[in-house]
Assembly symmetry: C2
DNA sequence: TTGACAAGTGAACGTTCGTTTACTATAATG
DNA sequence: CATTATAGTAAACGAACGTTCACTTGTCAA
């Protein structure tokens, strides 16, 4: 089979995401694929090589997604009222897309869980974990809110605090989705949170 | 030494919290204490017994803390304005105490990290993790906010949404404290969040 | 047809795992 | 003083670990 290497990577990721890297044996990965562990070494030079390939893959996926979502936001030449609704709309859809990505996309969901399990052993994984789903998103929202405050679309509360208020419910709901798979309810809570946030901090008028 | 059993428990917890249960060997635990692994079996019948003792210990600690913090809140016989400030003050101090507990108390902090690492393997650990630091606190705040809304001290937004808005920043900051040990900043953010929350949702007048 | 190569088997490697056992030193108890 | 319990060591157990290797296929190009 031509995509055996891919199957190994995905199976290993699924197991790493449940049990942690150390707790998953090469035999188990091979067993899940109906082959012997010796065969794995035709595709990866060792167990760590599989792990590294997973991380490398995620870097690639993340780069592609960033490129896709980096609308330069230079389109605020229209009137203020239009800019306002466009800004909130794009925040809404971006946030929802991020939530769906981290909770429903098989690779991203497993990768996030794997990072969760590796964060305390490996400083590099800790850094990656936080830049992906803790500090990273908060910093990103802070920079957006900073611009919006400057444009007068937001009340002038400290953007860092606003970013925390905005993102942390999403962070909690992502974690909650790992156990209760009540997708509808979590998405609903996320949307209600965003509306609440906008009604609290979005400026009604100029 | 009379408290060897205690030292074993604390050392094992510290290692479990960093590497995960499976990745910690009995030899390593013994080695950290300067003894051979055979000696461990004079105190615990096997490795799992150490883990179970840790969980049992946390149950005990949690029960003691609940008993201590369960002020029956039956003291809202004073005038509304006084009740209001008393309610917010106790929420503030309770929240801060919880944050300090989960981020600075050695046992609680390690236990929380251990649960984080075990949550995907063991449904019982998943349940415990969420009841301790995800759904549990949210549900608790929801019931408090429900009462407060009924008393007219809070705007009548859905208490479940309010609980999410209130607790999730604390949840994120607890996680953030695991890497950046910027204790002052996290406590500061938590306090600013609470003031922001109160100014948003606390009724200024009756 | 032949030869090279890719992919998988199964056994073996040395190491480490959790656990048990025989034994020893120390300290408390009759 | 004799004895019994406690807390430790050191060695061994079988099983599982990651990894390697000789060997067998099947496929495809020369």
């Amino acid at each position: 089979m031509i995509d055996t290497k891919e199957k190994i990577l995905l199976t290993a990721l699924r197991l790493f995401a449940r049990d942690g890297y150390e707790a998953v044996s090469v035999s188990t990965i091979a067993g899940e694929l109906g082959m012997t562990k010796g065969a794995l070494y035709k595709h990866y030079k060792n167990k760590r090589d599989i792990f590294d390939s997973i991380v490398e893959r995620m870097y690639r996926i993340d780069a592609e997604r960033s490129a896709q979502y980096d609308v330069p936001a230079d389109t605020y030449d229209a009137d203020a009222e239009a800019y306002k609704s466009v800004a909130w709309d794009s925040i809404r859809s971006f946030t929802t897309a991020q939530f769906v990505f981290w909770t429903e996309d098989d690779f991203a969901r497993s990768f996030r869980r794997m990072l969760t399990l590796e964060q305390y052993r490996n400083p590099e994984m800790a850094e990656l974990y936080h830049s992906c789903i803790v500090d990273g998103p908060v910093d990103y929202m802070r920079s957006i809110f900073g611009e919006m405050t400057a444009s007068g679309v937001l009340t002038d509360v400290d953007p860092e605090l606003l970013a925390l208020e905005f993102y942390s419910p999403m962070f909690l709901l992502i974690g909650a989705s790992d156990i209760k798979q009540d997708r509808k309810k979590h998405l609903d809570m996320l949307n209600r949170h965003m509306e609440q946030f906008i009604s609290c901090y979005g400026r009604k008028e100029n």
